[in-house]
């Protein structure tokens, strides 16, 4: 029953939501809405579980004095400090908002901006004309890169049109093929879960 119980609950709930989508009479019973509400509550509980999990990992680092445990202390202070501030003052309070806007946002943006430096370094080290295929790759990359910046049209009129064509025709068709495969695969997995054929996520078995 350890396996069958969760399976019955899952398949039953999924079927109600799917059928309610197509049959208005079932939709009116409110079952589907209740299930949607339950998901919201479960997701909120999952956030709390994440807090517990992170605390266990980082407290373990601190207690056992693992390498870099100072970062774990800092992490715990920031995590609980921010959470407590939000709980006490509310997330709309000026102090909470100030910390968010002046610490979280700039730090996040800085990490993202560093990608540009890493990408440039990678371009410099790897874009070498070693073969015909690589040359095509590099030229297409340069066409899109320069065409995406205002300088493209400034240097050669309609360079951006070439860049857009590259993105919307060859790249798009290639991606569409990949996406179709991914979606068909996802649909297959969803169907297997719904029919109870896929049980790995219930038991942890592979």
């Amino acid at each position: 029953m350890r396996k069958e119980g969760p399976l019955i609950v899952m398949v039953g709930a999924a079927l109600v939501v799917v059928i309610a989508h197509y049959i208005t009479a079932i939709n009116r019973t409110g079952f589907s809405t209740s299930f949607d509400n339950w998901v919201s509550v479960t997701m909120a509980v999952a956030v709390g579980l994440g807090l517990v999990g992170m605390t266990q990992v980082h407290m373990g680092n601190v207690v056992k004095r693992r390498a870099g445990f100072g970062y774990s202390i800092l992490f715990l202070i920031v995590m609980y400090g921010f959470a407590l501030l939000g709980l006490i003052t509310g997330t709309g309070a000026p102090a909470f908002n100030w910390l968010f806007q002046n610490l979280d946002v700039p730090l996040g943006s800085t990490v993202f901006a560093l990608l540009a430096f890493q990408t440039l370094s990678a371009i410099y080290r790897t874009f070498r004309f070693r073969s015909f295929e690589v040359a095509v790759f590099i030229l297409a990359g340069v066409a899109v890169l320069v065409g995406s910046a205002p300088i493209g049209d400034f240097l050669i009129p309609h360079w951006s049109s070439l860049s857009s064509w590259l993105l919307s025709v060859p790249v798009s068709s290639g991606f569409r093929a990949v996406a179709l495969g991914v979606y068909l695969g996802s649909f297959g997995v969803a169907l297997r879960i719904l029919l109870g054929l896929e049980r790995g996520h219930l038991t942890g078995a592979r």
Partner: protein, 285 residues
């Protein structure tokens, strides 16, 4: 010459940093050609009836502020100037609504628009697809009855015109898309496709090629082509925002990348020639 291909990464980064600082201090602001995609994005919003509500799907984190933040500001400018209203909401990205709400609040303050009347921030409400499905039937219930700051939704006039996220009450959805869940795997299947409302998308640059098929198929009503599209959109709205300033940096980065490719290849071919020299081969042997 061979050394050109073996430059340490720190010099590459230093060059980039110098160029970016230089262009920030002395902007060049090159003229921009408005692409049909950007024009269409502008036209879709311009075609909405006065008073329509645009749902802003704040699917972003702090890292993407510089990429998609200017898009939010520009959409708010166009929407408010045309008498449209905005509602910010996201059931997946916990930090997105706060960031987007702050951006819209700045524009609203500049344009004299009132919170709760012309726009509202419903905040992050956990639950993903289930919360969005619930919002399609009862938005107040999906938002737990309060806005992002915990104020009761019943106290805001805008909510009388937005009891649910459905065809009758929404003019369009403007979804930011910086990862998953984003526009193609969340907003499209769980909202706009079901309720038949135009989906406008603001992605980061790297997602533009991935999203082109959705634009071609008409599933995305319109899309801004990353920061380039955002800069063009600002140009259409006749104001210089973050994307226009970033365009200078983009120009410098593109030119610098081309220079690095040239230098790297000069070094690569010089080294190959050096290795192919008979005297060197013999000396090695």
């Amino acid at each position: 010459m061979a050394k050109l291909g073996r430059m340490h990464a720190r010099w590459v980064w230093l060059g980039m940093a110098v160029l970016l600082v230089w262009v920030a201090l002395k902007p060049v602001t090159l003229p921009m050609r408005i692409s049909p995609a950007t024009q269409h994005f502008y036209d879709v919003i311009a075609g909405l009836p006065k008073g329509s509500i645009i749902l802003v799907g704040a699917s972003m984190g702090p890292g993407e502020l510089s990429s998609v933040g200017p898009m939010v500001t520009a959409v708010a400018h166009q929407a408010f100037s045309r008498g449209l209203r905005l509602a910010v909401f996201d059931p997946n990205w916990d930090q997105g609504p706060t960031i987007v709400g702050n951006l819209i609040a700045q524009v609203a303050a500049q344009m004299g628009k009132k919170y709760g009347v012309d726009w509202i921030n419903l905040g992050f409400k956990a639950g993903g697809a289930a919360t969005l499905e619930l919002a399609e039937r009862n938005l107040s219930q999906a938002a737990r009855g309060v806005d992002a700051n915990g104020a009761p939704l019943s106290s805001f006039p805008i909510m009388k015109d937005l009891p649910a996220l459905d065809h009758a009450h929404l003019g369009a959805v403007f979804a930011l898309s910086v990862g998953s869940p984003g526009a193609p795997d969340f907003w499209l299947p769980y909202l706009t496709q079901r309720i038949n409302v135009p989906l406008l998308v603001g992605p980061i640059d790297s997602y533009v090629p991935n999203y082109e098929p959705f634009v071609a198929s008409g599933q995305f009503a319109a899309m801004l082509d990353g920061s380039r599209g955002a800069a063009q959109y600002e140009s259409l709205l006749h104001y210089q925002g973050g994307a226009t300033q970033a365009a200078d940096g983009q120009t410098m980065a593109a030119l610098y990348a081309v220079l690095l490719i040239v230098l790297g290849n000069l070094g690569y071919f010089a080294e190959r020639r050096l290795r192919a020299r008979p005297g060197r081969r013999e000396a090695r042997a």
